[in-house]
């Protein structure tokens, strides 16, 4: 089943949201992801599935609309790009603290500051390490194709509700803007309020006689209570680390060297593998799909098999820290990256491999 | 002629002694006790029989500690 279409990554996110049975999208325009809101406004799902679509007055308002909607058990999402995601950090940490599900999409552009509107992967730290205040984690999914932009909307919602935790799709301007063939999944009907109330007994849906009133908050002024809240969160993150690690291995079986890359960089590395293998270099690609939880064990195992890893990222070296922590210091692990909106070519990635790992 | 009689019951443990009820009472029924409750507040007490059950004290009580009764007697 499904439906084949040629779409932009951003459009695929919007269409997938409607098909996933999303209850509400709240967002604010910012390049390079405005097509998501534009597509939704054009599609008018509020007339078909009943999905609410609202252009908010700011990213700050958008994320707090998610806090409101998520707190009532609704499937809510937003999308933005780097500067907008920075503005959302307050709401994100509140949602993580109050354990609310929601889907966030970051179509990353170059920074810091207003930076550039060109693609980048420089928000890895922000997405994976926190971004807002306090000890919390987001579930972070890194799509490398328009198909994954579509599929991860559904996956992101599933994981967000499974763990009552915000999930983020960490994409970039290139994946958001490029057009590819997508196999769209069949539409899933939105949950009825009755289904929601039975599936989300924690949600604030109006106090019923048979239960206590529900309070959605991240506040606990009692230090012992707040420590308990934190321990509960950490236990939940441990569960995610045990159950939700996702990754892809390409030509790793006979590999002597590895590229480690996510999202767009992983696409580039696939071409670099071809070029390098033509030169007789046995190289494969390890692609983390969940950036949190990070595939630590898998990288540790691969580090015992290969001679070196080149971590290719469109940033100044962020994921490499997690790769090094996973792999230890037995093999050579170096970073190659372009930033400020420049996408590395497959050729220069191979040159970097030869210089930094093989010859270095 | 029917006469309206009122009475109030003050939850003295919850009273914070703010005196707003005392000001609101048209018949000076309420004063603050010399004693304090377990929180250390001089709580509100009745000091006469003139209550008509008008509810003014209860309506302005920030802590909702006053219950008001009213009955008509012949």
């Amino acid at each position: 089943m499904g439906e084949l279409r040629l779409m932009k990554g951003n459009e695929a996110v919007a269409e997938a949201a409607i098909r996933a049975g999303c209850d509400g999208y709240f967002g604010y325009p910012i390049t390079p992801q405005s097509e998501i809101l534009e597509y939704l406004m054009m599609a008018k799902p509020y007339e078909t599935t009943g999905m609410v679509v609202l252009q908010a007055e700011s990213e700050v308002a958008s994320i707090n609309m998610l806090y409101g909607g998520g707190g009532t058990g609704k499937m809510v999402m937003t999308s933005s790009s780097s500067p907008g995601i920075s503005l959302m950090q307050e709401g994100i940490t509140y949602m993580a603290g109050a354990e609310l599900p929601a889907l966030l999409v970051n179509v990353v552009r170059g920074g810091p500051g207003l930076g550039t509107i060109q693609p980048s992967q420089a928000d890895y730290f922000q997405a994976v390490k926190g971004g807002g205040h306090g000890d919390y984690k987001l579930i972070v999914l890194a799509p490398a194709s328009v198909q994954e932009m579509c599929d991860f909307v559904k996956l992101g919602f599933d994981l967000a509700f499974k763990y009552r935790n915000p999930a983020m799709i960490l994409s970039d301007g290139a994946i958001g803007q490029m057009m590819e063939k997508v196999n769209l999944f069949d539409p899933i009907p939105r949950r009825t309020n009755e289904e929601l109330i039975s599936q989300c007994p924690w949600a604030a849906t109006g106090k019923k006689k048979e239960r206590d009133h529900i309070i959605i908050t991240s506040l606990d002024l009692d230090p012992a209570g707040q420590e308990k809240v934190n321990l509960k969160l950490q236990a939940k993150y441990k569960q995610m680390e045990e159950n939700e690690v996702r990754f892809e291995e390409i030509q790793c079986d006979d590999a002597e060297y590895l590229f480690v890359a996510f999202g767009l960089s992983a696409r580039i590395c696939q071409k670099s593998i071809e070029l390098a293998r033509e030169k007789g270099i046995k190289i494969g690609l390890f692609r983390p799909i969940t950036l949190y939880p990070f595939p630590t064990k898998q990288i540790a195992a691969l580090a015992k098999k290969v001679k070196g890893m080149l971590v290719v990222e469109m940033n100044a070296g962020q994921m490499i820290e997690d790769v090094r922590l996973s792999a230890g210091n037995q093999i050579k692990i170096e970073h190659y990256g372009r930033f400020g909106g420049i996408i590395p070519t497959p050729d220069e990635v191979v040159r970097a491999l030869e210089q930094k790992i093989i010859g270095g | 002629m029917a006469k309206v009689k009122g009475d109030i019951v003050i939850n003295i443990e919850r009273c914070k002694g703010c005196e707003v009820c005392m000001t609101a009472c048209p018949f000076h029924v309420i004063a603050m006790a010399k004693e304090v409750n377990s929180k250390g507040y001089h709580y509100a007490v009745k000091v006469n029989n003139d209550c008509t059950g008008c509810t003014n004290c209860a309506v302005v009580c920030p802590d909702g500690v006053i219950t008001v009764y009213r009955a008509k007697t012949e």
Partner: protein
């Protein structure tokens, strides 16, 4: 101890004319003695009880003195980040259009850090109720200057009095939002006397009933005291409020049924 002046003959359940609503949780409120928040919390819960909408009401508490309002109000509630309550309410009302949604916010929350959320929710005409407690100070944080602090008024961050040349002017946000086409009912009340508290409750009732009409925001400002922050006794504070706050923030309706009320 034998209670003095008890009229035991009329203390019967059928003679109760006023008692604490069950929609307030049976626990002490965390507000200071004499604080208007307690009355405002109570009349709001009385209204929801009288309307019979406990199972269909979702409230949003702010950051500030009423941050713990969700512990006192026996309804489902969400605690918002500072100033963001109208954004939460916007989403909740749109996602649950048959529910009653209110925010309960202080002056710093609503008129400083949350100005954008307030104005835009009002301008979009969200079908919600906003209860705005204006006591011209940041009470919970320790008595700092608020957007609504009066000229010359002393606070911890304007210890010599608010100098408008340096600190800017007090903000009449209620007048401001009454001008927006998205507001349907805008009123300013107080709860410091029995008459005022009864009027304020009527205003809250109208503000909640209006949600059935789907005509936009109903906004109830309650000019209130802050005895602790103003460093007065509750009765002194109420008197000071009448003499100083009411001339600048006059009580009464600003907009009814979507029409501005003409000044006499």
């Amino acid at each position: 101890m034998e209670e003095a002046f008890a009229k035991l003959d009329i203390r019967k359940p059928e003679n109760i004319v006023y008692k604490r609503t069950d929609l307030l949780v049976d626990r002490p409120l965390s507000y200071c003695p004499g604080c208007g928040h307690g009355v405002a919390n109570r009349i709001l819960m009385e209204t929801i009880e009288e309307m019979g909408i406990q199972d269909k009401t979702i409230g949003i508490s702010p950051v500030g003195c009423s941050v713990l309002a969700y512990d006192f109000m026996n309804i489902d509630m969400l605690g918002a980040a500072h100033g963001r309550a109208p954004a939460l309410a916007t989403a909740i009302k749109r996602l649950w259009p048959d529910h009653f949604v209110f925010t309960y916010q202080g002056d710093g929350d609503l008129a400083a850090i949350g100005t954008a959320e307030t104005i835009h929710a009002c301008n979009r005409g969200e079908n919600i109720t906003i209860i705005f407690i204006n006591n011209a100070i940041y009470g919970m944080t320790g008595g700092q200057m608020a957007p609504t602090t009066l000229e010359g008024m002393r606070t911890a961050t304007c210890p010599y009095g608010r100098d408008v040349k340096i600190m800017g002017n007090p903000l009449k946000i209620t007048e401001l939002i009454s001008q927006l086409p998205g507001t349907y009912f805008v009123t300013r009340q107080s709860v410091h006397t029995p008459v005022n508290a009864r009027r304020a409750k009527k205003a809250i009732r109208m503000a909640m009933e209006n949600q059935k009409l789907n005509k936009g925001v109903s906004f109830v400002e309650i000019v209130s005291n802050c005895n602790s922050g103003w460093k007065m006794t509750p009765n002194q504070a109420n008197k000071w409020m009448e003499e100083n706050m009411f001339p600048f923030y006059p009580l009464g309706d600003l907009k009814v049924d979507g029409k501005l009320v003409e000044k006499k």
